[in-house]
């Protein structure tokens, strides 16, 4: 209250300029007000900061420390410093190497597909002249479907017996030779999980691409049309180069979703058949919460973090222009 009444006085006095004392007073008061605002800023930030400190910053640093220790949560009372041991043994851990390969397969195919499909669907919605409300509702709805429930749902869609897909292929289209256990066969399990992830996340990418498309100025599109460009030329020469800013964001999202994949394979296959769908995140998780090897698991977690960081930076490097 005090500070605000001060502000009121400042403004009254502002009406009488040229008086040196008044100007002096005004700067003093403004200074005071700035201080009040700064301290209120700290107070307003503090509760949120408390949460972020307790559940993000503190865990991050603790985790970083654990990654250099031997720490089995069941057997060891305290973490014992072990230097780089965990990081070194990670690269001779055959299971980890396999999960790295699987993650690379998943993330790269997911990245390409989600970017392409997101862009294509956005372009279609953008180009369609009539109302797109119904299509939007259908395509965006999976965003709010919890990923673990989507996984259960699709377990059932792709089930060998009584699954929806095999029902359509076998009973509706009468192509029995193409029915199979989509999630139990080595050749299709990972691809199926990619498709499920696309189903639940492509709406999100579409929204971002649509926003990007809508921010392209109408003048550029009109100019292209006057110059006689057809739809394909307009897309490749005008629209795609103008979406650079959008690629930064959609790219980061696709990289994060692809490399952090865990829930879908964990619920749908548990890593099977064999370890065909076992991903890095799963290996980290199992080391931590199945075997309670906290030191080793955190080291694996930081290796994954570094990989994520590298790809995010590459994405930034490619899509952010030098001059901005």
């Amino acid at each position: 209250m005090y500070s605000a009444s001060v502000a009121g006085r400042i403004l009254n006095e502002w009406l009488i300029p040229h008086k040196r004392s008044v100007i002096l007073k005004r700067t003093q008061n403004l200074d005071h007000r700035r201080k009040v605002k700064a301290s209120m800023g700290v107070i307003f930030t503090f509760p949120a900061f408390l949460f972020i400190f307790t559940f993000m910053i503190y865990p991050l640093f603790t985790s970083f420390y654990y990654s250099f220790t031997d720490y089995n949560y069941v057997y060891d009372k305290k973490p014992v410093f072990a230097g780089l041991k965990n990081y070194i043994s990670a690269f001779s851990d055959k299971d980890f190497i396999v999960t790295m390969k699987n993650t690379a397969v998943f993330a790269s195919s997911y990245f390409v597909l989600v970017m392409l499909l997101g862009l294509i669907i956005a372009l279609m919605l953008f180009s369609f002249k009539k109302g797109t409300g119904f299509f939007r509702t259908c395509i965006f709805m999976p965003i709010v479907v919890p990923i673990s429930l989507a996984a259960i749902l699709f377990n059932w869609v792709f089930a060998e017996n009584f699954g929806l897909l095999n029902f359509i292929i076998g009973d509706v289209l009468n192509l029995q030779q193409f029915t199979r256990g989509w999630l139990t066969s080595r050749s299709t399990a990972m691809g199926t999980i990619v498709l499920v992830t696309i189903w639940s996340t492509v709406g999100f990418q579409t929204i971002l691409f649509l926003a990007g498309l809508q921010s392209i100025s109408t003048d550029i599109l009109e100019a292209a049309k006057i110059d006689g460009a057809n739809a394909l030329q307009t897309i490749t020469r005008v629209i795609l180069p103008n979406l650079r800013e959008t690629y930064v964001i959609t790219g980061i999202w696709a990289i994060l979703t692809g490399l952090k994949v865990f829930v879908q394979p964990s619920v749908m296959t548990g890593g099977s058949p064999g370890n065909a769908t076992r991903v890095m995140y799963m290996h980290i998780y199992d080391n931590a919460f199945e075997y309670f090897e906290m030191g080793y698991a955190t080291a694996l977690g930081f290796i994954l973090s570094i990989i994520i960081l590298i790809f995010s930076l590459i994405n930034l490097r490619i899509n952010v222009k030098e001059d901005d």
Binding site: S3, A4, A7, G8, K37, A38, M40, G41, V42, F44, T45, A48, F51, I52, F55, M56, I57, P59, S63, Y66, Y73, L125, S127, F128, K129, T132, F135, C138, M141, I143, V144, V145, P146, I147, S148, I152, L153, N155, W156, V157, L164, F167, F204, L208, A211, Q214, E222, A231, E245, I249, L256, L259, V263, V267, I284, A288, A297, G301, S305, S312
Partner: protein, 281 residues
């Protein structure tokens, strides 16, 4: 919008329409399938000639859930408590913090924000290990509070950025005139900024709602005993129980109901939120 579309040719509009219908069907069919199956009888689901729509529609599966499976209602209760509390806390914290980041400059503010953005890129698994140990030591494992607190934290950064963007877009003059009238910083925030920022607040509420309702990894790790589990984790256990697909369809339908209803009502805010948070944050 007309002037912005790429093609006016009516033939290509027809092709577009057909493609969009097909894509929409692919997206919506699994959910519709779960819903229609939930009204089927077991014998019609695994009978010799299965059909898409129920032959003898019945509420048998729902009756079974409500009469015989109390644990399912418990999952539902946990999800509801965690989500409502989480959304409330996040809304208060993010509107305060967002306002401070937008209008109350203090030292180190940009450093804090940059650092929060940096942490968000880390996989949750890295943070989860110390969180698990911490909650084990203070006895928060398998409690709703133990899930509310970290859930709030995971949705906070996005919410703060959305609110910061919203408050920044409000003209400064409004705030200044309030100050002249003698309003304190707190009163300015509560009486002037909050009502104007209502649109942003609804974005935050929807974002937090579907994210906390659908959260899986925290729940799976921090709630390992059945009575403490929310829906997302509890339902994944059903797989092992050999339940009929009809009951599975029914529980999935019930679990999807709250977020889907919210989505239907607030689709515009959801889209705006994704655009605002991801692009302008």
């Amino acid at each position: 919008m007309k002037s912005k579309s790429l093609t006016y040719n009516s033939k290509s509009q027809w092709v577009l329409a057909i493609l969009l219908v097909l894509i929409s069907l692919v997206f919506i069919t699994p959910v519709i399938y779960a819903i229609v199956t939930s009204f089927k009888l077991e014998k019609d689901i695994i009978g010799s000639s299965p059909t898409f729509f129920p032959r003898n529609p019945s509420f048998e599966n729902y009756r079974y859930i409500f009469e015989r499976r109390g644990v399912y209602l418990l999952y539902y209760y946990n999800s509801t408590v965690i989500t409502i509390a989480g959304v409330l806390i996040t809304t208060v914290l993010s509107t305060m913090c967002g306002y401070a980041f937008a209008r109350l400059p203090f030292k180190g503010r940009n450093v804090i924000m940059g650092f929060i953005l940096f942490i968000v890129t880390f996989p949750l698994a890295v943070l989860l290990i110390p969180i698990y140990i911490m909650e084990y030591e203070v006895g928060l494992l398998n409690t709703n509070l133990g899930l509310i607190l970290p859930n709030v934290t995971t949705v906070l950064p996005f919410s703060i950025f959305v609110m910061r963007g919203i408050f920044r877009s409000i003209p400064k003059e409004l705030e200044e005139s309030a100050e002249i009238d003698g309003a304190s910083v707190f009163a300015t925030w509560w009486k002037i900024m909050m009502p104007i920022g209502l649109n942003g607040i609804s974005i935050v509420i929807i974002f937090c709602f579907y994210n906390i309702w659908g959260e899986y990894i925290l729940a799976r790790t921090l709630a390992t005993q059945t009575p403490a589990m929310p829906l997302t984790v509890g339902l994944t256990l059903l797989r092992g129980e050999g339940w009929s697909y009809g009951i599975l369809g029914a529980v999935i339908f019930l679990a999807l109901l709250p977020p889907v209803i919210i989505f239907m009502i607030f689709q515009k805010q959801l889209i705006e939120g994704i655009t605002k948070g991801a692009i302008k944050g």
